[in-house]
Symmetry: C2
Subunit: 363 residues, 2 copies
C-alpha cells in the first residue's frame, strides 16, 4: 500500500498574491519538527515574503526543508537567525511544548513570531507569552491552519460576515485525523510534548468556534479525553471532545480523534457546521465523503432563499498571510488579533486540563 497521507503532510499551495515588494518582508524558519512549517512558509512566500534562512538542530529536518525551499539558505545556529537584523519574523514548528520558549527568544530578539498550532501547552506558558507581548509589543501569531489555510473555512467566514445565515448561534467541528503512527516522530506520543489532543488538534476547533461565533471569550462546560484503541501508545489521546458556551450565549462543540480509517480517500473528513438564526453552513474541508476522488473546498449553505453547494477550491485563496505581513509592517491586527490567538489556546488548554478521562475498557 502506498504511504497514506496524514494531516502533517497538509501544506496547501495557493496563488501568488504579493502584498509587498520583494525584500520588504524577510523571514526565517526555526524549528522544523512538524510538516506544518511547509504550509506556513508557502503562505508567507505567496504573499510576498522572502524566506531568507532556516535552522533546526536535526539534520534530517534540515535536509527535507532544503529540498522544499532550495532558494533559502541553511543557517548554522538559532542565534544566526535571532541576530540577523534583516529578519523581521520567525516562523516555527518545533515540539509543541517548546513553542512558547522559542517564541520568547524570538520576541526578545525583537522579531515577530509565527508558530504552528498549538502555540503552547500550559497556562504558565500562556502567561509568559502574554507578558512578553506586553513587554516587547511583538506578535505571537499562530497558524490555526484548519481555518486560515482552508478555502472552505475562509469562504464560510465571508458568508457569515455578509450575514447570509443571520446571527451565528452554534458551531460544531469534527477534526478526525489519520494516525499513520510509523511516520510520526517519538515526541508526538509523549503527552508532555504534544500537550494532549484537546490542546493539540483541539486548538484548531476552539479557534474556529471563537471566530465563527464572533465571541471574545468562552467557558468549557464539559470535555473528555480517551485512549480507546491505542494501548501501544499509552500517552496518546486518540479521542477528545469539548462543549463550550461563548460569552455571547452561542454554543460550540467539537470532537477530535485519530481514528481516520485507511479506506478513506484522505487523512481526515474534517467538517464544520455553523448554525445561524437564518440558515446554516456546512464545510467539508478536505473531501466530499462518498464521492470518489473528490477534492477539498466544499461549502454548503441553506438560508431563506436557497440551498447551495459552493466548490471553492482554488477560488478563494488565503488572505491571512498577506494580512499578517502587513500587520507586522504596520503594527495592525487584521489577520487575527493577539487576544483571539491566545484565547483559543487558553480554552484548549483548559479543556485538556479539566477533561474527564474515559477508560478504554468498557465498564
Amino acid at each position: 500500500m502506498a504511504k497514506l497521507i496524514s494531516g502533517s503532510d497538509y501544506a496547501p499551495k495557493g496563488k501568488p498574491n504579493p502584498v509587498v515588494k520583494k525584500g520588504e518582508f524577510v523571514f526565517a524558519a526555526l524549528g522544523l519538527y512538524h510538516g506544518h512549517i511547509y504550509g506556513m512558509c508557502n503562505g508567507l512566500i505567496e504573499a510576498g515574503g522572502v524566506l531568507k534562512t532556516y535552522y533546526d538542530s536535526d539534520p534530517k529536518y534540515m535536509e527535507n526543508f532544503r529540498r522544499n525551499f532550495p532558494d533559502a539558505r541553511p543557517a548554522v545556529s538559532e542565534n544566526e537567525i535571532l541576530n540577523d537584523k534583516e529578519i523581521v519574523l520567525v516562523a516555527g514548528a518545533t515540539m509543541t511544548n517548546e513553542r512558547c520558549a522559542l517564541g520568547l527568544r524570538v520576541m526578545s530578539a525583537g522579531k515577530d513570531y509565527f508558530t504552528d498550532k498549538a502555540p503552547l501547552t500550559t497556562l504558565e506558558q500562556l502567561a509568559q507569552a502574554r507578558e512578553m507581548v506586553k513587554k516587547t509589543s511583538k506578535k505571537y501569531a499562530c497558524y490555526y491552519s484548519e481555518r486560515i489555510h482552508v478555502e472552505s473555512a475562509v469562504f464560510a467566514g465571508q458568508l457569515v460576515e455578509q450575514g447570509a445565515i443571520g446571527r451565528v448561534v452554534q458551531v460544531i467541528g469534527f477534526g478526525p485525523h489519520r494516525l499513520s503512527a510509523p511516520n510520526r516522530p517519538g515526541w508526538f506520543f509523549i503527552k508532555k510534548n504534544y500537550g494532549g489532543i484537546l490542546c493539540d488538534i483541539g486548538s484548531h476547533n476552539m479557534e474556529q468556534i471563537l471566530y465563527y461565533t464572533g465571541a471574545k471569550n468562552g467557558r468549557v462546560v464539559s470535555s473528555h479525553i480517551a485512549n480507546y484503541n491505542h494501548s501501544q501508545f499509552p500517552e496518546l489521546d486518540d479521542f477528545g471532545d469539548a462543549h463550550i458556551v461563548l460569552d455571547n450565549n452561542a454554543t460550540g462543540y467539537f470532537r477530535v480523534d485519530w481514528f481516520t480509517p485507511d479506506g478513506l480517500q484522505t487523512w481526515g473528513d474534517g467538517r464544520l457546521f455553523i448554525l445561524g438564526t437564518e440558515g446554516f453552513i456546512e464545510q467539508r474541508k478536505y473531501m466530499n465523503l462518498g464521492v470518489k476522488g473528490s477534492s477539498g473546498g466544499h461549502v454548503f449553505m441553506a438560508n431563506g432563499k436557497e440551498e447551495t453547494h459552493f466548490h471553492v477550491e482554488g477560488k478563494v485563496g488565503f488572505p491571512f498571510f498577506g494580512q499578517l505581513i502587513l500587520d507586522c509592517l504596520n503594527r495592525t491586527e487584521n489577520a487575527m488579533t493577539q487576544a483571539h490567538a491566545f484565547k483559543a489556546a487558553e480554552l484548549s488548554v483548559i479543556a485538556q486540563n479539566n477533561a474527564t478521562v474515559l477508560e478504554a475498557t468498557q465498564k
Copy 2:
C-alpha cells in the same frame, strides 16, 4: 409559496410485510394530536396489524384521520376503545404531557400502549409508567421515529451490528426541524405541554445515542436550551444541546433546533454520525445537502477497506413494526426493550430539567 413541509408531516410508507395473518393483531388509535400517528399506524398496518377504530375528542383530527384510514371505523369515545376486548394495542399521539396518563389508562385496560415520542415529560410520569409496567406486564412502547422509521438509521444499525466500524465510541446527532408555526397547534408552544425541546425532539437523539453505542445507561454532563429568535413564542425552546457519557465509556452529543430555513428542500437536514474504532458512518436521513431533489436514505461509511455511499431508500424497510407486533403476541422484547425506551425518555427529561438557559440577547 406552497406550504412548506414540516417534520410533523413525516409519515413514511414502506412495503407491506405482514408478520401475522389478518385479524391476529387488532389495534386502535387514540389521541390524534400529532401527525406522527399516521406513521405509527402505517407501520403497524404494513406489518399485518388491523386498525379497527380510532378516537379523538377534536372533530378536526377525527376528520383528517378518516380521510387517511377510510377502512377504520371512528369510535364515539375513548372508553369504547378501552373496553373493546379485540383490541390488543392502542397507538396514541396525544399532547406530550398527557401521553403517560393515556398510557396508564390503556395498560390498566389490559392493552399494550404504543405512544408517539416523547413518551412522557416528567420524572414523576416516568415513575408511574415504570410502576404500571411492573403491575400489568403490559408494554409502554415508543415511536422514536428518527431511528425506527428511517431506513438509513435501520441500515446503519445493521452495519454497526456486523462490526463494520469496530467498537462504537461516539455518536453525534443533529435534529434540525422546520418550525412552520402557522401549521402548529397552540399546545405545541406551551412548555408544560410539549416538555421542552430536549425532552421532545431530543428524545429521538438520546434514543439513538443509547442504541448505537449499545449502552444501557448514561449521564448528561452538560445541556443547554435557548429561545434565540422566536420571542413571539416565549415558551418555545428553539435550540437545545446535550453532552452525554455512556455507561460503557462512549460519548454522545446532540443538537436540536427549529431553525430549518425555508430555502432547504425538506423539513430538516437530519444527520447522525457514528464513530467507531475501525471506521465511521454518517447518515443523511431525509436529504443529501446541496443535491437538488435528493431523497432520503443516505448512509456513508468508511473503514479499513473502503469508503462507500449506500443509498438505501426503499431497500431496507422498517422491521420495528413487525417485531413490535410479535413482541406483543409473544411477550418478547425484540423491537426494543422497555428498559431502553424508558432510559431514553429519562435522560431526555434530565437533560431538559438540568439545562442551562442561554439568553437570547448577546451579553
